[in-house]
């Protein structure tokens, strides 16, 4: 019973971070700022739900698979964000600046 409560808390935290990531994805003004909520909030949300499921599951072989998925997500979401950001930078997609001064994103 206590295990279910801990798992529920982890799941709720994960869902909260997912909602946060969605909000950030819709609110942010340009691609580079959208990368921030998507790489951070989604990773923590997914890992949190996975940890909750691992607690719910207990000791078995499935635990190993869940740990593998969590580690892979930590690596892959950062790499995906990097790849998308680099392709945007190389295509000179303009990035949003304060006071609405728009410039080309060459990066000096």
């Amino acid at each position: 019973m206590a295990r279910d409560i801990v798992a529920g808390i982890f799941c709720c935290t994960g869902t909260f971070f997912f909602i946060l990531g969605t909000t950030g994805l819709l609110r942010m003004p340009d691609l580079f700022t959208r990368l921030h909520p998507s790489t951070k909030c989604d990773t923590l949300g997914a890992c949190s739900v996975i940890v909750g499921m691992a607690v719910h599951n207990g000791w078995s072989w499935d635990l190993l698979k869940l740990v593998f998925i969590a580690c892979f997500l930590l690596l892959s979401s950062a790499t995906c964000g990097h790849a998308i950001g680099r392709s945007a930078l190389r295509r000179h997609i303009p990035y949003w600046k304060k006071k609405e001064v728009k410039e080309d994103g060459h990066g000096a």
Binding site: I19, H56, L73, C80
Partner: protein, 90 residues
């Protein structure tokens, strides 16, 4: 516990639908790739939740393959968009 997990899966699925907005109208193609990546992450978590709602272990293998495919798709698309001479289709 099953009802709770179903509710969580529904909320995350709804989130994925909202993220689909960014994939559909994103001003640049990179925005669409990002939207697809995020929808994929949420789908992955829903698959993991469904594993425990239905108590079917083999869904976890589906989740592993989904995670690997998601990574490959995103990196391949970004590398493709990065190539010289590629033009945005209006």
């Amino acid at each position: 516990m099953d009802e709770f997990l179903t509710a969580i899966a529904l909320i995350i699925g709804l989130n994925a639908f909202i993220c689909l907005y960014r994939a559909a109208v994103g001003p640049t193609t990179q925005d669409r790739v990002l939207g697809v990546n995020i929808v994929g992450t949420k789908t992955l978590v829903v698959v993991i939740l469904v594993t425990y709602i239905l108590a079917e272990n083999y869904f976890l293998d589906v989740a592993i393959v989904y995670a690997l495919l998601l990574f490959v798709v995103t990196v391949a698309l970004s590398r493709y968009l990065e190539a010289e001479g590629w033009k945005e289709v209006p």
